[in-house]
Amino acid sequence: MRGKKFTTTEVSEAEIKKLVVERLKTLPSGKQISIGGEGSFTKEELIKRVKLGDKLGKKMIAVEIEFLRALKKGEFFNDQESSYHQT
């Protein structure tokens, strides 16, 4: 019996945005996210910036992607104390 063929496809920018927006929705309401000189934002404001795709929105996407990649690699369950020492 022939196995089912799986193909990998590029995830589009729109799909990534959608994923990040969904993840940002899990942020607590009533709290603010301070992002240095950019200011402090509610989750609704961050979602708006991700949808807009401006500099801050792109940074938020980078934060999420980096976190998800670390989760995928299981980095949180490794020896973090030695994994992120960078000089």
């Binding site: 899990t26 607590p28 709290k31 603010q32 996210i33 240095g36 200011g39 999420e64 020492h85």
Partner: protein, 214 residues
Amino acid sequence: MTKNLLITRPNYDLPTTYLFSWSKLVIKCAYQKGFRIVDLPNGKSNETDFAGRVNKTDPSFIFFNGHGSKSVVTGHNGEVLVSDKKNLDLLRGRVIFSRSCSSAMKLGPKSISSGAKAFIGYKEPFIFILEPEKSSHPLSDKTAALFLEPSNQVAISLLKGHSSLEASKRAKNAFAKNIKKLLTSESKKEDSATLRYLFWDMKHQVCLGDATVI
């Protein structure tokens, strides 16, 4: 070298108000450890006072709090204190901890090539979550504590005599401890949503220059 700490503490918006308050714990530790402290709070975090006090007191350790960018650290109302083109000589021979966004990207390496002993900072924006209703008492904000206690560990470890690399490691361990706590405990869903930013700050904190300097 005399044990001198110079600390900048601008205080003009929500993030700087939090850094201003949380830095008090570092000042308290410095007193306990016998450091001579030059505190530049609020409007005293300006270029003139900063340069004048550095030249006069010759601090072994400078702790910047405030906004920044890849090549700049600012004081009160965003006034530039040091950049990759300005006042770099003031950092020569000193240990620097810059709790400001992204300054370890360009200013950090530039300060090392200009003679700073060590530069600990963040290569990306320093992100933290806060509870606005606690903004009049930032030290009681338990959400912000998840971020600011670990970053305080850099300064506190240096004051306790640990090397620059060890101080950076101890802070990263404190971030990691909070991450593990949120991952493994029955924390509220909204608390675990802070993980991504704890990880971000931990990952982008770096120690440049002489890792062994105390």
